[in-house]
């Protein structure tokens, strides 16, 4: 029997959600409506009595203080139009799951497999009369057609009946079919097989597979397991996942044939090994006994020391492709996914904070959108909400992040999600950051169930966004199921109930079990034992589904019962799926029949190395000639209001950045708690004052001139932010996330060699500067296909690297914030200002790119950062703020209005070339510069510390709340009240 329970607010109660929707419709779609109200709908398909349903409706499903309930009839007919939005079949419905559990408690029996609860939302409109507009509101704002469906009822139309057709149940037949695929076909057909199956395998890779399967030894071995000579769909899918760009990083592993601008040629055997692993090896060698790295590159996240008892785990991921299709689900999955990386590192770790960096096109984009692209404003909204739910509900504070804007991110938004975690140095006497599966350990999957969601996520993100991009690649995360699982796993870890753990991300069980089995050299996995969300999944789908909230563990036989019992008590599903062996084979069975038998060696080592041509031809760029601005104050206000500079407070406040009570330097700071912090300082142990400092650098705008300097600037920016708050420059690790446009030469990418050369140059800088700064890289991730191509329209993102840094501050009570503190404090600019405005915000405001991209001198910068640390340790700094987008002008304004006191500075005192024009002095983006304020009694000490370095006393903090900038020749360039500057900075995204 099916019941439809509708819950709505009583008359007179504010409908905050309805009001928000009304406002969004007006702002996004330009449609003014009279009233929007909302109802929650629960469609219950279960064997219940009418009395039970009454109890449910008036119990857990509604709040009698503010809500009314109707069962199997409309709650009200008082509207002009009703739109009801529900999920498509198979899409994760978290509220439906919770509603089902609530009924089970109430009637004291579990639901049968075919019983369920499905949720939807009704939007009731007044002032909306035509269905065409209603359709637009539904499709463009209320719902995402990929995962949701809707019905529209105009006034007077009858409600559809409450029947089976109304519920999005997946009705599938149990399908045990395993197809055999003939690979002895033409090249065209091989390519077709790969494209049709969303396999993302190249022709060369298809050949490699075909050849493997004609090897007589392979054929005879297959006969022994009851398999024919043709590859099964399970095997082909497993290979496609494992060999995908997403999992195998084929571009970073490629042999690159690089030619520079002088025609010098060199071969690079793997960018990853040469520059990333190479840099870390060199840095660790130089650190010697001071090396603080514990586990790098080999696990789901990197691990460094925190103190003698604790280790620090850090990972940053991207989730770009899914976020392009479903911003909310994509971003939510991004954050809960990277959380599993922390949990799945070593023997598991407790998550302590998240970081988020997004790259979008302007939310105010007003050009026609190419097909299949969502408006940047919807992407912005959805991503922010996804991360909000993912982080807040998981109880993990989001403490650091930023948002970058460039029109090209309309083609693909970038969604970077990071997580740090803490683990004991030793667990039951063994290093906690190490793990090893033993032969005979059971393969146990915990957490969520497997569905069709997330099938082909790994291969999908290994391609550009195109017409056929699959809907099933989109998933919705479930933070609570994951939270419950993590509570259980930390207990199981401490009790020593497992030997290894990893997460199920890209490639699902295929990747997680396949990778863990490298410890033993084989496994036997029974796909039919895996718990499913619904029937109808074929064996290959079970193997590669990326359904969320799942971890895979190796549990010794003697602990299996204890493990499963503890899971059950804590309401977590745990299932024994097979054993790890030393057979040498990736072996999957379904109902006792072998459906996949691949040699471990072939699946892990068989992928051919890609050959990548790369040729660097520097772009033709020029420095613009233009007149000095007449009104500096106006220019400064314009810059403060640029999207890359303006306040992101509306977003920051939606993230819980204080849960766990460790956030010492919060994202917002200053006299009215709204200034922009450079980095976050976090105290992970409540009984200690040792802290973690986290920051990042990202400068895609410099890529259009030279990715070498883009990378150098991103590293410097990350470290600059880090030291500004007090992070110890001697104990800091880096993490690189490359997001590139496809650099592989092909018909659709004729400029591949240029993009590949940009990649080489960024990697060269990564090596050079990490070694020079002494910063080891501990983990990272690349996302290499950030293009959009439909028809003739191609949009490639600017090459972008997020450089995240994590390290230590010995005592958080010595942290420094960016807001000026007291009148009469002295203002110093550390670092020389050069004519470096190429790719700057100032040039962009004037419509120029420029040529003089900022360059980093690591030797000078490192000395400055070390000295800054000394000054912080001695408590000499009142404030410290880095100079980045918008240069000195923006930094002065931010420090002043955050602190609530004015500043009076003279540009003539700046360390810079003598003839540099005032606008360049104010807005140059020369790197490694910091603005500090110092109480007068510390003047001598500070000047002694920085003696011999670029350290210019340029002015002082003043009581009057205005920023005054003079040019030394008696001209006052800027004299503006702080509240005016602050308003300009806060205005653009205030209402997002």
């Amino acid at each position: 029997m099916i019941w439809k329970i509708i819950v709505g607010l009583k008359a007179g109660i504010t409908d905050a959600r309805g009001n928000r929707v009304k406002k969004d419709i007006a702002e996004h779609l330009g449609i003014e409506l009279d009233v929007v109200r909302t109802h929650d709908v629960y469609t219950v398909d279960a064997s219940l009595s009418d009395a039970d349903v009454e109890r449910v409706a008036h119990g857990p499903f509604s709040d009698s203080v503010i809500q009314d309930v109707a069962i199997n009839q409309p709650l009200t007919r008082d509207c002009d139009m009703l739109i009801e939005v529900g999920f498509r079949p198979g899409v994760t419905d978290n509220t439906g799951r919770t509603a089902k559990e609530a009924i089970q408690y109430l009637v004291d029996r579990p639901f049968a497999p075919e019983e369920g609860v499905y949720t939807s939302t009704q939007y009731l409109f007044k002032g909306l009369h035509d269905k065409v507009t209603a359709e637009k509101i539904a499709g463009d704002l209320l719902a995402n057609g990929l995962i949701q469906r809707w019905t529209i009822l105009a006034k007077g139309e009858t409600e559809p009946p409450v029947d089976a057709a109304a519920i999005p149940r997946v009705v599938g037949q149990v399908s045990t079919e395993v197809r055999q695929i003939d690979l002895n076909v033409s090249n065209e057909q091989l390519v077709q097989i790969s494209r049709d199956g969303m396999l993302a395998l190249t022709l060369e890779e298809m050949h490699r597979i075909r050849d493997h399967f004609t090897d007589p030894q392979v054929i005879s071995q297959r006969q022994q397991c009851g398999l024919g000579s043709q590859i099964t769909d399970v095997e082909l899918e497993a290979l496609a996942q494992t060999w995908s760009e997403h999992c195998k990083h084929k571009i970073f592993a490629a042999r690159v044939f690089y030619e520079d601008e002088q025609g010098r040629k060199e071969q690079i055997d793997s960018l990853f090994k040469t520059f990333i692993v190479g840099a870390t090896r060199e840095v660790r060698k130089n650190l010697g006994e001071k090396d603080f790295c514990l586990s790098v590159f080999k696990d789901n996240a990197g691990v460094i020391t925190f103190n003698d008892d604790w280790s620090l785990v850090f990972k940053v991921e991207t989730h770009n492709s899914p976020s392009a299709l479903d911003p909310y689900g994509g971003a939510l999955t991004g954050i809960v996914g990277v959380n599993r990386d922390g949990m799945g590192t070593g023997m598991g770790a407790r998550l302590i904070f998240n970081t988020d960096v997004f790259c979008f096109a302007s939310p105010f984009y007003d050009q026609p959108l190419p097909p299949r692209l969502l408006h940047p404003r919807r992407i912005f909204e959805g991503v922010v909400e996804g991360v909000e739910h993912g982080g807040n509900k998981s109880g993990i504070p989001t403490i650091n992040g930023s948002i970058q804007f460039d029109e090209r991110f309309a083609g693909k938004p970038l969604v970077y999600c990071g997580t740090a975690a803490l683990m004991p140095r030793l667990l039951n006497g063994q290093p906690c950051h190490e793990k090893k599966v033993q032969i005979g350990d059971h393969i146990v999957m915990t957490g969520g169930r497997i569905g069709k969601d997330g099938i082909h996520g790994a291969t999908f993100s290994s391609e550009e966004l195109h017409e056929g991009s699959p809907v099933t690649a989109v998933q919705i995360g479930d933070p609570i199921t994951q939270r419950k699982m993590f509570d259980f796993l930390l207990l199981a870890r401490d009790r020593g109930l497992y030997t290894s753990i990893t997460d199920n991300g890209a490639g699902g069980l295929s990747s997680s079990v396949g990778e863990m089995a490298e410890d033993t050299g084989g496994f036997e996995l029974h796909l039919d034992r895996a718990p499913l969300k619904y029937q109808g999944l074929r064996p290959w789908e079970i193997l590669i589904s990326e359904a969320q909230e799942r971890m895979t563990l190796a549990v010794p036989p003697e602990h299996l019962d204890k493990f499963i019992t503890l899971a059950k008590e804590m309401d977590v599903e745990a299932t024994d799926l097979g054993v790890f062996t030393d057979s040498g084979y990736f072996n999957c069975l379904y109902q006792g029949q072998t459906v996949c038998c691949l040699s471990m060696e072939f699946i892990h080592e068989g992928v051919p190395q890609m050959q990548l041509p790369a040729k660097w031809i520097p772009p033709l760029v020029n420095e613009p000639a233009f007149a000095e601005p007449g009104d500096y104050a106006q220019v400064l206000e314009q810059l403060l209001g640029r999207l890359n500079i303006c306040s992101k407070e509306a977003v920051v406040r939606r993230y819980d950045h204080e849960v766990q009570a460790g956030t010492v330097v919060k994202p917002l700071t200053g006299v009215t708690n709204d200034g922009p912090s450079d980095a976050a300082v976090f105290r992970p142990l409540l009984d200690s004052f040792e802290g973690v400092v986290v920051a990042h650098g990202i400068c895609p705008s410099y890529s259009d001139i030279d990715t070498y300097h883009m990378m150098a600037c991103a590293i410097d920016e990350g470290l600059r932010n880090y030291v500004a708050t007090g992070g110890n420059i001697e104990h800091v690790a880096g993490l690189d996330n490359f997001c590139w446009c496809d650099p592989v030469l092909s018909e659709k990418t004729p400029d591949g060699p240029y993009k590949a050369a940009q990649l080489v140059r960024a990697n060269q800088a990564l090596y050079d500067y990490c070694v020079a700064f002494g910063v080891p890289l501990i983990s990272g991730k690349d996302s290499m296909k950030n293009d959009y191509q439909i028809g003739d329209r191609k949009i490639s993102i600017p090459p972008t690297v997020l450089f995240s840094v994590i390290g230590k501050i010995a005592d958080v009570r010595l942290a420094v914030t960016m807001d000026v503190k007291k009148p009469d404090d002295l203002v110093y600019l550390l670092g020389r200002t050069e004519d470096e405005l190429g790719g700057s915000e100032y040039y962009a405001q004037l419509g120029h790119l420029g040529a003089h991209v900022p360059q980093v001198n690591a030797t000078v910068a490192l000395q400055r950062y070390r000295t800054l640390n000394q000054a912080q340790q001695q408590g000499l700094l009142a404030s410290c703020h880095d100079l980045s987008d918008g240069g000195l002008g923006v930094t002065l304004a931010e420090s002043a209005f955050a602190g609530g006191y004015g500043m009076d500075v003279d540009l003539a005192l700046i360390d810079a070339p003598a003839d540099l024009r005032a606008d360049k002095l104010l807005f140059s983006e020369s790197q490694s510069r910091l603005l500090i304020t110092v109480a007068p009694q510390h003047q001598v000490a500070v000047e002694e510390l920085f003696c011999g370095q670029s350290c210019a006393l340029i002015g002082k903090v003043v009581e009057a709340p205005e920023l005054k900038v003079r040019d030394g020749a008696g001209r006052v360039l800027v004299q503006t009240p702080l509240d005016r500057l602050k308003s300009a900075w806060q205005a653009p995204l205030k209402e997002m």
């Binding site: 928000r20 857990p60 978290n94 109880g395 009570a661």
Partner: protein, 272 residues
């Protein structure tokens, strides 16, 4: 003597603040255990063994059916192994025994939706609720709170104002009728209110972050021993928690800790 005060913080199903709440209880001098709800349902751990129950912030069951609704349903209907009682029965017995209960954020929502607050005449009937913020958004911001000195609340004794963070999407306090609000006021059960910079209760955003009626941020039961509030006292137990600690002279200890100290001192004086 204070060392004998035993505090429990329940965790599981989406609680998030159990560690810092336990830390605050310990700083205040209580022996404190974080106990997973499965331990209570398995009857391996019992509320009866404690004096001070803390319901911490979080998102019980994702707040999917409305904040704390599914959590309240579980406590009311899930049976403790081997007994006929639910945890809600245990909880009512705990309150009747004169013990202390504090719910913060999601814990406050839970107490209100289970009818434990305000529980006029000990009736355990729900007549208030916490619903979506007027702006329809989750927000993290620090708020000034005015303390009602006439309230029977034992936690806020000696305090006049507190500065604490709110971190919620469903914190707007409303009552089922004007009569309920009138009775809350008359019996002085409103303990803390959102206040402006001058310290006066306000209905204006952002000082009142959610639109709560009468600026109500927290209430207690007539005994003053059951107390719930949306702002997080456990988030301000040290000066470095304060958002302006780098620019203001602040006492080492955060004001939020005073609430826990009052609870522990009260127990030490009256229950042990």
């Amino acid at each position: 003597m204070a060392a004998k005060v035993r505090a429990i913080v329940i965790s599981g199903n989406g609680t998030n603040c159990e560690r810092e709440v336990a830390h605050a209880c310990r700083l205040a001098g209580a022996d404190t255990d974080i106990v997973h709800i499965s331990e209570l349902l398995a009857d391996r751990s019992r509320l009866d063994d404690y004096h001070f129950l803390n319901l911490a912030g979080g998102f019980l069951d994702g707040d999917d059916l409305g904040s704390a609704k599914a959590g309240a349903n579980r406590l009311t209907h899930a049976r403790v192994a081997g007994r006929q009682d639910s945890l809600a029965d245990d909880l009512r017995r705990f309150v009747a025994a004169g013990k202390l209960v504090m719910g913060v954020c999601n814990g406050f929502q839970l107490l209100v939706k289970m009818g434990l607050l305000p529980s006029f005449d000990g009736d355990f009937r729900q007549n208030c609720t916490l619903t979506f913020n007027d702006r329809g958004r989750f927000e993290n911001r620090w708020c000034n709170l005015q303390v009602n000195n006439h309230s029977p609340c034992i936690y806020t004794r000696g305090l006049t104002d507190i500065f604490l963070p709110v971190r919620h999407g469903e914190g707007k306090f409303v009552t089922d009728s004007p009569e309920t609000l009138e009775r809350l006021e008359k019996e002085q059960l409103v303990v803390v209110r959102y206040a402006d910079a001058q310290g006066d209760p306000t209905l204006i955003y952002p000082d009142n972050p959610n639109g709560s009626v009468a600026a109500i941020a927290g209430i207690c039961d007539p005994s003053g021993r059951v107390f719930g509030l949306m702002p997080h006292p456990e988030a301000y137990v040290h000066r470095t928690h304060h958002p302006r600690w780098t620019r203001e002279d602040l006492p080492e200890e955060g004001l939020g800790l005073a609430l826990y100290r009052n609870a522990v001192d009260f127990i030490a004086a009256t229950l042990i």
